[in-house]
């Protein structure tokens, strides 16, 4: 299963990539929403995107809005992965089209549990 990690922090991307690789996922990365859209256009088989909220150029919230406008990505699961922990932000992300919300910091077990909620239990080991 291919997963896109969108985060402006290379350290965070490294950490998430390590977790996902251990779970058997293929990983592609982008450092902001704009690059993520470009990455997606050449990686049509991405099934899940882990999207940070606060990024330069195009933030995660804007990225989710853009992705959800495009019917081509209807089946793609979007998980907001962020330090934003206010209820208003959770509501905003879900209303924009995020399927799940993971608050930083998190562990691999939390990623597995959230993936299961997205219906991809067993797809990752």
């Amino acid at each position: 299963m291919k997963v896109l990690i969108v985060d402006d922090s290379s350290a965070t991307r490294f950490m998430i990539r390590k977790m996902l690789k251990e779970l058997g996922c293929d990983v592609v990365e982008a450092e902001n929403g704009k690059v993520a859209l470009e990455t997606l256009s050449s990686n049509k088989d991405v099934e899940v995107a882990f999207v940070d909220w606060n990024m330069p150029v195009m933030n995660g919230y804007e990225l989710i809005q853009e992705v959800r406008k495009d019917a081509e990505y209807n089946n793609m699961k979007l998980m907001m992965v962020t330090t934003e922990t206010e209820m208003t932000q959770v509501v905003k992300a879900i209303e924009a089209g995020a399927n799940e919300y993971l608050m930083k910091p998190f562990t691999k077990e939390m990623v597995v549990e959230k993936m299961a909620l997205l219906g991809i239990e067993g797809a990752v080991q």
Partner: protein, 277 residues
Amino acid sequence: MALEEQDFLYVSKMVREESAIVLEKGKEYLVESRLSPLAQQDGYASIKEMVQKLRETGELVLKLKIVDALTTNETSFFRDLKPFEMLQKELLPELIEKRKDQKRLEIWCAAASTGQEIYTICMTIRENFPWLRDWNVRILGTDINQEVLDKARRGVYSQIEVNRGLPATMLIKYFEKSGIDWKIKDDLKSMTEFRKMNLIKPWGSVGRPDVIFMRNVLIYFDTDTKKEILGKVRNIMQPDGFLFLGAAETTLNLDENYVRRTYDRGGCYTLKGKDAK
């Protein structure tokens, strides 16, 4: 029976060395709730006595058991997912049909711990069967440890705890922010009642549950105690009720009066010859 500070510090240091899991101060309740069943199972009078034995002998098997008890079976919302899916899609619709005249349902979480399982059941009911508000629905949570029950009753969870297994849509609907923590809304809390109870002592009144969640409890007990508990469950559970055990637990070779009912890769247990389906 509070855990003494020196014992807590000893255990937390050992677990940190063995598993890299950090048990900070304030997690005494967790250590107690995880180690109490182990101490009982191994015949110690208290956790203190068990920890004392470890300090004196450094016995490897005991050390591993303690580390195992403290590092596995961590609870989370919607833990293992499938039991709640089975409850929602198969068991509750069946029970609701059967009990539509009495309008009465009883669910018992026999190891309620810090409450994630019982609140998951409440969310499953509110979300899928909202009309059960008009029914007499009793959802009882019991645990051997008073501190975890107090936490369950408060229904306040840290960010790390709500990160575990809880769908964002449920977080939005059934929680409210309380400082840096997340608090279960009163409407959901009002569905529950909690009581301290030791499974190897007389049970008192747990009613006649239609569904019993007793997951990851039997693993702590020896064979005779497992048989005794399963026998007591049989006596109090509704004849057409359902029993959930942990994924690594079974009634097989312990009590032949149970029948496995499968669902996806999981399942639950019913009583032989009594399941109307």
